[in-house]
């Protein structure tokens, strides 16, 4: 059994770390983006790795739970512990040093509390790209991005957070420090602890620093928004783009018109690129080396795809501003969704060839459950859809929230039947623990449990995340 934070325990921590580590206003740490859960506990923000280790050691000795807190942007409740004995909420916000940049190695070493946008900027400062990019990049921090193996819009080309990390420094659940901050591209010396920690959502330790992979900055950038007649046409267009453009294809985002309608309805205001909004469109982004010609590549792709009946209309960005305007549409959809207020949201992955089937079947099944609006968008190149369900236009926000369990179960059952994943990039957190137990392979579940028990035998690290709390 775990113990809650007591005044005595708080005093003990106050003796271990500086006064600046304690927070008077804890409200921001106890709410989360969709407002679905309410947290609790003692918020502590240590100043460095040694201080993190001191706090963790004290928690281990007292069997007090630890909830690691990074940017607070997670969507599955991994950063929020509603119930149980009061935990220490361990915030990474003061671990904000970029420790070193090695342009000739394409490596940047930073602490876990650095905000993603700052890492992107530091890379740009040495003419490199850190390719991780997602809507919350202005507030999400590296530690949480790694702990959740974050995805985003450039996974197609550069992989997810896992693919962008070479080494880690981690404070283990007993307070010892794993010094694994290697800058090596190859290192076959034992089990892959780095990838085990990445995506473990703070249940096996606390990431305090990381060696991140940079890439040469593509200098010839291009983007196009193309109207496609169907999801299958979008997939065929993806294959055509892959064959013509190869690795230069950075992003391939699918959007249903519902997202553009939401933007028109509630904002944020964006420039609508089509006179008549098409049912489906794809946003394509290219990044080529100096010798490349993205406009020519996009024009050729558009012409060939048009001839093949794969696109019916399109806009090719002619400037950086136009490209940004296209991306503004895609990047503001999550905010429009928040303004409308979803009944249920799903972050699913499917085998690429199953995507059209899923979209067709889910629509039919949803209609049987009630009159709702579907906003289906996402990273088609990765088979990753954000499939979000909203009340009908005449219904009030929240009026149909009672449908959430039935909607989620239907969607997740369908995803499982099509060999998909009920969490493509957001993780399990506390929200999807039941889904993992329900849909997870039994041998997999046995291994997850064995690993958790082996590396965190007291169960103090982010209890109730990924696996049910014991």
């Amino acid at each position: 059994m775990l113990n809650g934070v007591t005044p005595e325990f708080e005093n003990r921590l106050r003796g271990l770390v500086d006064a600046a580590a304690f927070r008077a206003d804890t409200a921001p740490y106890f709410t989360e983006p969709r407002g679905r859960w309410q947290g609790q506990g003692l918020v502590v923000a240590p100043a460095d790795t040694i201080a993190v280790a001191a706090v963790v050691t004290a928690c281990a000795q007292a069997r007090v739970a630890i909830v690691p807190y990074s940017g607070g942007t997670g969507l599955v409740g991994g950063q929020i512990m509603e119930d149980g004995p009061a935990p220490v909420v361990l915030s990474l916000e003061r671990l904000t040093k970029i420790r070193a940049v090695y342009p000739s190695e394409n490596v940047l070493v930073c602490e876990a509390g650095v905000i993603l946008a700052h890492v992107q900027q530091a890379a740009e400062d040495v003419d490199r790209l850190f390719p991780l990019s997602l809507a919350s990049e202005g507030s999400a921090r590296i530690g949480g991005l790694l702990a959740t193996n974050a995805g985003g819009v450039n996974v197609l080309r550069y992989g997810n957070a896992r693919a962008l990390c070479l080494g880690l420094e981690v404070v283990r659940p007993d307070g010892t420090i794993w010094h694994g901050l290697t800058r090596l591209r190859k290192d076959n010396t034992g089990y892959d602890l780095r990838n085990l920690m990445i995506g473990a959502e703070g249940t096996l330790g606390i990431i305090t620093a990381a060696a991140l992979r940079l890439v040469p900055r593509p200098v010839q950038i291009g983007a196009a928004l193309l109207a496609v007649p169907s999801p299958q046409a979008a997939l065929d267009l993806l294959a055509m783009a892959g064959a013509q453009i190869g690795d230069g294809l950075s992003a391939f985002e699918l959007m249903h018109r519902q997202g553009l309608d939401f933007l028109a309805e509630v904002g944020p205001e964006v420039r609508q690129p089509f006179e008549t909004i098409p049912a489906w469109s794809v946003l394509i982004d290219l990044g080529l080396p100096a010798s490349g010609d993205p406009d020519a590549a996009l024009e050729r792709l558009f012409a060939d795809a048009f001839d093949a009946g794969l696109v019916s209309d399109g806009v090719i960005a002619r400037s950086a501003a136009q490209r940004q305007a296209l991306w503004d549409i895609r990047e503001n959809i999550p905010e429009a969704n928040r303004r409308i207020g979803s009944i249920a949201s799903h972050d699913i992955a499917l085998p690429l060839s199953a995507v059209p089937d899923f979209i067709a079947q889910a629509e039919v099944a949803l209609r049987a459950l009630g009159d709702m609006r579907i906003n289906c968008f996402g990273h088609l190149g990765d088979g990753n859809l954000h499939y979000n369900i909203f009340p009908a236009k005449d219904r009030a926000r929240g009026a149909d929230d009672a449908l959430r369990p039935a909607v989620q179960k239907m969607i997740h059952d369908l995803v499982a039947a099509l060999d998909g994943s009920v969490s493509a990039e957001h993780g399990i957190g506390r929200a999807k623990v039941g889904d993992l137990q329900l849909y997870g392979d039994p041998a997999k579940l046995a291994m997850l449990r064995a690993i958790k028990d082996a590396l965190d035998p007291q169960g103090i690290m982010n209890p109730g995340v990924i696996l049910p709390q014991r």
Copy 2:
């Protein structure tokens, strides 16, 4: 304590699997490429995953060790158990089905006994590339390549085996089967078991099938062999090539003239491309999409690098045959090395910027140990050197083998001091268990042991590999 295979146990296995699973001639399974270790045990080659599970279950019940055996090409003794109670040597050679190919998803699902060259061919048959490529591709099998997280010549562009695998089917040490053969690009549902199994060298379970990632086949191929004045110049050339060519750079191999001298001395016969063999040369490979022009890219790179003093001479392949001739040089160096007979061989990785220092310091330190020849070559783009030491030209093969421990210790000490890895791509096997204990971070070693004990509590899976046998 483990039990050895007894006649009774063998009879039990004969009742579980077909007669064709048993091997009369076991000699090939008990020798390895460099002839350094001699194996033992009962060789069993089950016909399918169910049969693998039956054998493993029987071994688990009887506490008999299992040595997974794939292509037998490993260089660190992972496939050879010299001592201890006789194990079951479980060969994957009959698991040779390619179960499915999904060209539109860029996925191929095959069993673990498929030879790498066959996977490459199956990918080519659907106009795709399976990018894993290494000298032993004609005999190495997928299971072993994944178990050792194999590298090879295309890691720079496509990553190692880990980056080329989407899903696994694994027989666990208790005989249960983990059905993890997903074709998904994104799946954040729990700890990363796939990457834990990949690189575990058969100590946590037996990989029986894999979903592999294919890529669009680069259609415009080019190669060049360029003479460089120094390892530092080679690194600067790598940076220049990255900036000019971007992702199209598939391979960047460094070769010291010693390798070309060995080829001239003992074969295999290759066409020497330079009139005077340069001290250092790099082999560059490009693969571009249809619109690319690799010749123009290589000519521009050569011209710019020549002007910058980074290359002094070079050959650009003008045909597929010429390209193959350049690659023949690189790919035959390991065979030439075998014909000469090394005193010690090292598969090391370094932070890129530390490579020139290592090469300079190691040469001085070696000279202090004796008169030896150094063949330094490898995947410079990954910071991965094969740094192999041979007797002086007038010394007989094997005459200086007594120097091996001192040479290895000096090299590995130097690698550790430069934040490198003592096993870049070959793994730990049984050969480097002591090195891992000596150079490994204590927190890392504790986690490796905890994971091994959690997932293989009886310690029957490939005992003595990665970690010391208990």
